[in-house]
Symmetry: C2
Subunit: 394 residues, 2 copies
């Protein structure tokens, strides 16, 4: 099989990645390839195991099924979401559906080998649980709570991750599983997951995580934007008006996260005589209808709105999703955000703009990590490598 | 010729778009196509006229040239840059080289038919000047001084362009030249031109135009980002600290362009007793070493720096280029910008960041408009249509 032929097999496969079953005639008309070429390529894909015949409801038996489609569980993806104090790990199929999942409390500050050993052991266990072979694994996607140089998979000066700076995450994981390992920061993978789950048609979307820190995952022209050094969307350290005189943990004055992050809201309530000295305490007060707590969250929403205004002017998104632990009180947070964004942004930028709470929650991260890895191995550039491994399945 | 074959002819052509001459052997090894397939495809491309044999320095004659390359002037592009009070029009080749150019003062406020008729007449005249046929025209690229919905080529509520709102620019131009007509705002095409001319390796670049208005063209992941409604980069209406109490022409308070645009600087100097009541007057004062004028420009740079800080956090570019008429005094403007950006942005975002004046000047717009149109017609999706027309040249 020449590379030229491989290239049209890949074209055919890209078409089938949406999961829709298609007849050979439909494939021929969509690609312009001749029926005989389609026949040969479909045979190649069926042999690889990545594609499967679909039982036809109207079939009268005897004839081979007229339709074929992607076989999502032909190969598997491992997806991990590491937070400051936890790891979630899942095995998914090629379209991000979770087949098996596990969770553990784990301090990221204990360093990379501790966390990554837990992940590689976990992958082996999860595969065993679902009776699948390690060779079925096609790729691994990992989200980390700090800046990551995506091209190399190395964290860059992550503030809450001692020992991780410049650590070669893919290389370490590949000592156990010799597959592509894709690494990104948690906000970026949450943006990918949230979009795939709830806003598949939004090509310009901002996912804002509001928790202890504040950060954004930005999708423009349908592509996650990482910027030159992988730190695009680092909006928590933009200066806001109300921040004057407040010093942030980054050393600058007036950063958004120093006045609107979870700990800042809790600290503010304590100075007002409230008992809420933690984020959980703030949530409880808000749910109990405590006016000071509600106003504090709404004020944080307004501060966040000030920065989202800038994001709206610069990125011009159609959707802004608010996620992260503060999404627990998203009703009041988003009220404050909307108040500022709709009052201040240019009409053309807001007339088609939706601001909504995350509907996917923590699963957004696992879904996003899975899709990041699956997208890499099924891309036109890499699909032939996957195909070769896939042949072992046939 | 089947579509499948067309697809590999297009692959071959995409490879040759960089202008590098290649032998058939080099093409075979780069594409994986067989020597005989390459031979057939090269014949197709030579017939289309888009590709030409390159005279080989070491050739001893008799044998056909071993190398082929893109023939940049096989087809032509018309590129127009419309400002508030002028139009520049050029005929370029397929890689943006100007073959013929003309300029006229023209009030954009007189409406679209006035300006577009001048452009279509101008294209005909320029083609005659260089003895080329209207059929040689492959596409037209147009930059306008206001927001444009790029997909339809219609201006959207452009503030200084009465009569242009929602006007179907491509349709009107196509009554004379039935070729693709691509329209965008001037800042976006300047970003494309500046990058192509001076920063071809910068995949994350912000072009900031500072003139009467202030706006940015944003290139992320190598792609110009237009956002959901074509108004990404509308940074002139972001609120800045020093703008408190100043009402912008957009109706909001504190917009960047209301205090750091050219007219704002001139007006400020007049209140200080200066004679500079125009931008030209400001430039003259700055060049004469007038301290108040220098400080006013530097202060505008600091205000702009405040907004560029946000752009740096959100987009994470490696290059910021300052263009527009205020680039006349870019030395002092950029001093102010650097002062704020390097003091305030996160170290990881600035350690690899270049802030530089535009090196291409007004030609950036013509080059960008040309490349926008050429890129469209030579893309894998559209090249076959161009090819068909191109056959007439052979």
């Amino acid at each position: 099989m020449t590379s030229a032929t491989n290239s049209s097999v890949s074209d055919l496969f890209q078409l089938l990645r949406d999961g829709e079953p298609r007849t050979r005639a439909q494939l021929a008309s969509a690609t312009g390839l001749s029926r005989s070429t389609i026949g040969l390529h479909v045979d190649t894909l069926l042999e690889s195991g990545l594609v499967t015949p679909i039982a036809d409801a109207a079939s009268t038996g005897g004839r081979p099924s007229a339709r074929i489609a992607l076989k999502p569980d032909a190969r598997l993806i491992a997806a991990a979401d590491l937070g400051a104090t936890h790891v979630t790990l899942a095995i998914t199929d090629l379209v991000g559906k979770t087949l098996s999942e596990t969770f553990t409390p784990l301090e990221i500050a204990l360093g990379p080998t501790n966390a990554l050993d837990w992940i590689t052991n976990g992958i082996t266990e999860l595969l065993t649980q679902i009776s699948r072979d390690p060779c079925d694994l096609a790729a691994i996607g990992i989200g980390l709570p700090g800046p990551v140089e995506h091209d190399t998979g190395r964290p860059s000066n992550p503030p809450i991750m001692p020992g991780w700076d410049e650590f070669d995450v893919p290389h370490y994981v590949q000592r156990t599983f010799n597959v592509p390992v894709l690494v990104d920061n948690d906000v970026n993978i949450m943006a990918l997951g949230e979009r795939a789950a709830n806003w598949p048609d939004a090509n310009n979307l901002i996912f804002l995580k509001v928790a202890t820190g504040i950060g954004a995952g930005i999708i423009s022209s349908g592509v996650l934007q990482r910027g030159d050094r992988g730190i695009a969307g680092d909006v928590g350290h933009i200066r806001v008006a109300r921040g004057a005189g407040v010093i942030c943990r980054c050393g600058n004055e007036g950063c958004l996260e120093a006045i609107a992050g979870g700990p800042a809201i809790a600290a503010h309530l304590v100075t007002e005589g409230s008992s809420a000295d933690s984020l959980a305490g703030v949530f409880a007060l808000v749910r109990s209808g405590d006016l000071a707590a509600i106003l504090a969250v709404r004020q944080a929403g307004k501060d966040i709105g000030e920065v989202l205004n800038m994001c709206v002017s610069i990125v011009n998104p159609s959707v802004i999703v608010i996620g992260g632990s503060m999404a627990e009180v998203s009703e009041h947070l988003i009220a404050g955000i909307r108040e500022v964004v709709y009052a201040r942004s240019q009409p053309l930028a807001t007339q088609n703009l939706t601001i909504a709470p995350s509907r996917t929650g923590p699963e957004a991260a696992i879904l996003g990590a899975s899709l990041m890895a699956a997208d890499f191995v099924m891309s036109p550039k890499n699909i032939n490598a996957l195909n070769t491994r896939g042949n072992a399945l046939a």
